[in-house]
């Protein structure tokens, strides 16, 4: 089953992707998300842009123009230090919520 990305999670996913892969452009981020999700997620790549704008305006990522290995120019995003802090905080929160939901759903009593 293919699902939409859970609302509000796209930002943290982008941050996590940038931490794992280092500086990356929008296409690269989208491709990576699709690859990790193994086609279980339906993603119009354009829908990534609002998340990128939000993150950039919060100064959690920073975009710079660079050239790809195929000599194309692309805007590469790098996670900033405040971005890393935000990611740590939010992933912890996500873990705990997910744990809680998981426990509630699998609780047999």
């Amino acid at each position: 089953m293919r699902a939409d990305i859970l609302p509000g999670t796209l930002e943290i996913i982008v941050l996590r992707t940038l931490t794992a892969m280092g500086p990356q452009h929008a296409y690269g981020i989208a491709a990576r998300i699709e690859q990790v999700a193994e086609k279980s997620i339906r993603l119009n790549q354009g829908t990534l842009y609002p998340a990128l704008v939000r993150l950039e305006q919060k100064a959690w990522i920073k975009g710079t123009w660079q050239t790809t290995e195929n000599n194309r120019e692309a805007k590469y995003y790098t996670i900033t230090r405040s971005g890393a802090r935000a990611l740590a905080k939010q992933s912890e929160w996500w873990q705990r919520s997910a744990d809680l939901v998981n426990r509630l759903l699998t609780d047999k009593a």
């Binding site: 929008a26 119009n44 790549q45 998340a51 692309a74």
Partner: protein, 853 residues
């Protein structure tokens, strides 16, 4: 922190929408190239790769729009663009736009003005603490039954002490002359008070102090000034406290000044303690004002009042309490409510017109909407566009409306009759202005939303074609209903106005029993100001007045013929020792009947020889003869003098404003001297032209005399019908507006009909139909609407008529003339508007129209 930073960025982008746009273009282009590279690597052709890349991205424009929405406050930018587009569209139709804005301004202006009056006069609590606790107490005789009246001091002591009351006060007002060194002598309304007036009201002097208990019990000669008088006579000098002023010749010390618009009764200009003599006189001239204990009510207090009054009067009198606010607005409530209803109806008409104008405009724009829809504008964006236009109209109209409201309010106050409580305080305040603006915005939304939603549906339609246009223009049923309602409302308002006008006409035509036109009254209270014989003074005044150019005659009398009530005394015929009857007596000077224009129907008037030494004489009125038949030459005995009076003449009754005269007899002031009264002057032409000069001359001759109360007698008669005159004037204004607005509505409807059927008409004309036929085609549906609107309005007027009942005099609310007049007028005006609208369009050349298709 990061949230704030983002907000800042979004704001910057909202006001600089193009900033970041280049970067976005570049980024999306690069994204597409990367995607195409990938697709080609998977073996797609260049063309296929281009297509897949766009599919994977999810649409270039869509992506950019998502970016913009996240980057800035896109709606803000949309609103800005809609607004500038709306302004352009409105400027393109200057006639319709200014018509809409002007009618909104009138509608909203009228409503803010009328509701300000209503708010202050009817709704706003009196400016005292816990105003609902304030009551007035009235008494009336039960056997025989009498009208509500004031109290005696003894009654005040009993009723004012009731357990339901926390505190109470009583007052009676009288006109006196106030003089002091350095100021002009003026007539003032003096309230003589007992009890605790200021404590009861909860309002105290702002300068100086209130009366002390000692001053109250001794009736000390101390006064407190009203704010107005303080400003007028003493220029607001705080040092007035401690000064001595003469009131009616007796020196009084000023001890305080009330705050503006505080103090009761509202017309009082000076308050002083009731003197011991005044307490003892037993006059029924005290008005009782009291404050209820918080746990009780006016109704419960009434029960106690009635019980107390019956107990002390052996069941001859009863008493009751009324809330002060209700008691003071009782006579204007109906008028103001009728006004408010009329103003609200006008606003309704305005909304109907604006809605018609907006939707007429929108019908022409169906094609534009279809194209915008085809180019990708969402329904929300298209309807937002139209709502924005109506909002701009509404704001323009509302802003202008507040200005109009300010003027209308000033106009209302300037023509308002005296005696409407608190009118002087009325202002347009923030609350009313806010309400007006809210009403405006709602109006804007309401009239903009309907066509917006209707048109927005087209945006998703199949594309530009003529069926789209027709779908809109054919749907004029809503507009027809609006015009029908307009006509009906205008009929109701016109009918109301004509009812009031007929009532006024009836009042003006009333026989007063004397000739009020060209009659001037000069109030005279020479007591204390003038050393010497007041009789001599009066004679001198009359002789001076008579020599004045333009004056026909002059006379002195104690009262004016505008008041039938007065002093009463027991009278009987000397020849017949039957039980005496209570009769009103009126001291007047020589020449009074001639000057006032009261006919002497038998015998003679007073003459010079009726002096203090001559036998006492009286002139009776017809009402007197009806209750006590007597003939000229007969003698009367009265309870106010030992000497019998000989009837020397019979005068006609005075019936000011139609009020029946009391049985009364006139005596001569040469035989029964008076201390004060009025100088009546009959002029040869319009008295208004003479008043200033006459006043100046009399004042010059007798500088010590206060001459500030000079008025036309007709004016004081008019004040009795001032409320109806005022209401009639306003109702006529409203009806005129309603007429105009509905004519505009009819005009717009027919004009719309013509433009919708332009092609059809052109074809008809081209194949030989006459202009008359074509005209009839377009105005025919309108006549049906006019007639049904007129009938609906007629029925409405018939059922709304009773609301005006209390304002009508001598006219039934179902008066046939007034009710028939309105629908006929409306139909005629409507037909005229329809023909004008039709004729304008038909002047166009059908050949040109057909060629353009």
């Amino acid at each position: 922190m990061s949230i704030l930073r983002r907000l800042l960025y979004r704001l910057v982008h909202a006001f600089r929408p193009t900033r970041g746009e280049d970067d976005l273009d570049r980024e999306v282009a690069s994204h597409l190239l990367l995607l195409e590279d990938e697709c080609r690597r998977r073996g797609q052709s260049t063309v296929e790769a281009r297509r897949s890349a766009r599919l994977m991205l999810g649409g270039v424009e869509h992506t950019k729009e998502l970016h913009r929405e996240a980057r800035s406050f896109a709606w803000l930018d949309h609103a800005r663009r809609d607004a500038s587009y709306a302004l352009r569209m409105l400027r393109r139709r200057p006639m319709a736009t200014s018509a809409a804005i002007l009618s909104l301004a009138i509608g909203i202006g009228l409503n803010t003005a009328v509701f300000s009056v209503m708010d202050w006069v009817l709704l706003r609590p009196l400016p005292y603490p816990a105003p609902h606790e304030l009551i007035r107490v009235f008494t009336a005789g039960t056997a025989p039954l009498t009208n509500p009246s004031a109290l005696t001091y003894a009654e005040f002591l009993t009723l004012g002490d009731a357990t339901a009351l926390r505190s109470s006060a009583a007052f009676s007002t009288a006109t006196r002359v106030m003089s002091a060194s350095g100021i002009e002598s003026v007539h003032i309304a003096v309230a003589r008070v007992c009890g605790d007036l200021f404590g009861t009201l909860g309002a105290y002097p702002k300068v100086g102090r209130a009366f002390s208990a000692g001053e109250m019990s001794s009736g000390a000669p101390v006064v407190i000034l009203a704010h107005d008088l303080w400003l007028r006579a003493f220029l607001g000098d705080p040092a007035v406290v401690g000064r001595t002023v003469k009131i009616g010749g007796a020196p009084h010390t000023v001890i305080g000044v009330m705050p503006p618009s505080r103090g009761y009764p509202a017309g009082a200009e000076v308050w002083r303690p009731l003197t011991a003599d005044e307490r003892e006189d037993g006059d029924r001239d005290l008005d009782l004002l009291a404050r209820l204990r918080s746990e009780t009510s006016a109704a419960r207090a009434s029960t106690e009042m009635a019980m107390l009054a019956r107990a002390v009067s052996h069941d001859a009198r009863t008493a009751w309490a009324e809330e002060l606010q209700r008691a003071s607005v009782a006579n204007v409530k109906a008028a103001i409510q009728a006004l408010a209803a009329a103003a609200a109806l006008i606003l309704l008409l305005v909304c109907a017109n604006v809605a018609a104008l907006v939707s007429a405009g929108s019908a022409d724009r169906a094609e534009e909407v279809v194209i915008r829809g085809a180019l990708g504008a969402s329904r929300a964006r298209v309807s937002g566009q139209f709502v924005m236009e109506s909002l701009i109209l509404a704001l323009g109209g509302g802003g202008l409306g507040l200005l109009v409201g300010g003027w209308a309010l000033r106009f209302l106050i300037s023509i308002a009759p005296t005696g409407i409580p608190r009118l002087a305080e009325v202002t347009l305040d923030g609350r009313i202005a806010g309400m007006g603006l809210a009403a405006t915005l709602l109006t804007g939304l309401a009239v903009g939303l309907a066509p917006a939603v209707r048109l927005a549906r087209l945006a998703g339609g199949p594309g530009p074609n003529h069926s789209g246009t027709n779908r809109v223009t054919r749907r004029s049923n809503g507009r027809r209903a609006l015009v029908l309602v307009q006509v009906a409302v205008a009929v109701v308002l016109t009918a109301g106005a004509s009812l009031l006008a007929r009532s006024l006409q009836h009042l003006v035509a009333i026989d007063n029993g004397f000739a009020a036109d060209k009659l001037i009254a000069v109030d005279l209270y020479p007591g204390g100001e003038f050393e010497g014989d007041s009789g001599r003074l009066f004679e001198e005044l009359i002789s001076k007045a008579r020599t004045f150019p333009g004056v026909a005659s002059a006379a002195i009398s104690q009262g004016l013929p505008t008041r039938v009530i007065g002093f009463r005394t027991a009278v009987q015929r000397a020849s017949e020792a039957r039980t005496a009857q209570q009769m009103t007596w009126r001291p007047v000077g020589p020449g009074y009947f001639e000057t006032a224009g009261i006919p002497i129907v038998a015998g003679r008037g007073f003459i010079k020889t009726d002096t203090a030494r001559a036998p006492r004489v009286a002139i009776v009125n017809r009402a007197f003869l009806r209750s006590l038949p007597a003939a000229v030459g007969e003698r009367l005995t009265t309870s106010f003098g030992k000497e019998p009076l000989t009837i020397v003449g019979v005068a006609g009754d005075v019936t000011p404003g139609g009020e029946p005269d009391r049985a009364a007899f006139y005596v001569s002031i040469d035989q029964y001297p008076i201390g004060g009264g009025s100088l009546l002057v009959r002029t040869l032409s319009d008295p208004r032209a003479i008043i200033p000069e006459l006043t100046a001359r009399l004042h010059g001759m007798l500088p010590g005399l206060a001459m500030d109360r000079v008025h036309r007698v007709a004016e004081s008669l008019e004040s009795g019908r001032a409320v109806i005159r005022f209401t009639t004037l306003l109702a006529a204004t409203f009806a005129g507006l309603a007429l105009l607005l509905s004519a505009v509505g009819v005009y717009g409807l027919v004009a719309g009909e013509v433009s919708a059927r332009w092609q059809e008409l052109a074809v008809r004309l081209a194949v030989g139909a006459s202009y008359g036929d074509a005209l009839w085609t377009v105005i025919q549906p309108c006549t049906a609407i006019l007639v049904s609107g007129a009938i609906t309005g007629f029925l409405g007027a018939l059922s709304a008529g009773p609301m005006l009942q209390s304002l009508l005099h001598g006219v039934s609310p179902a008066d046939a003339y007034a009710l028939a007049f309105a629908p006929i007028l409306l139909t005629a005006v409507g037909m005229l508007a329809a023909v004008l609208a039709g004729a304008r369009v038909l002047r166009a050349d059908p050949a040109v129209t057909l060629r353009n298709q």
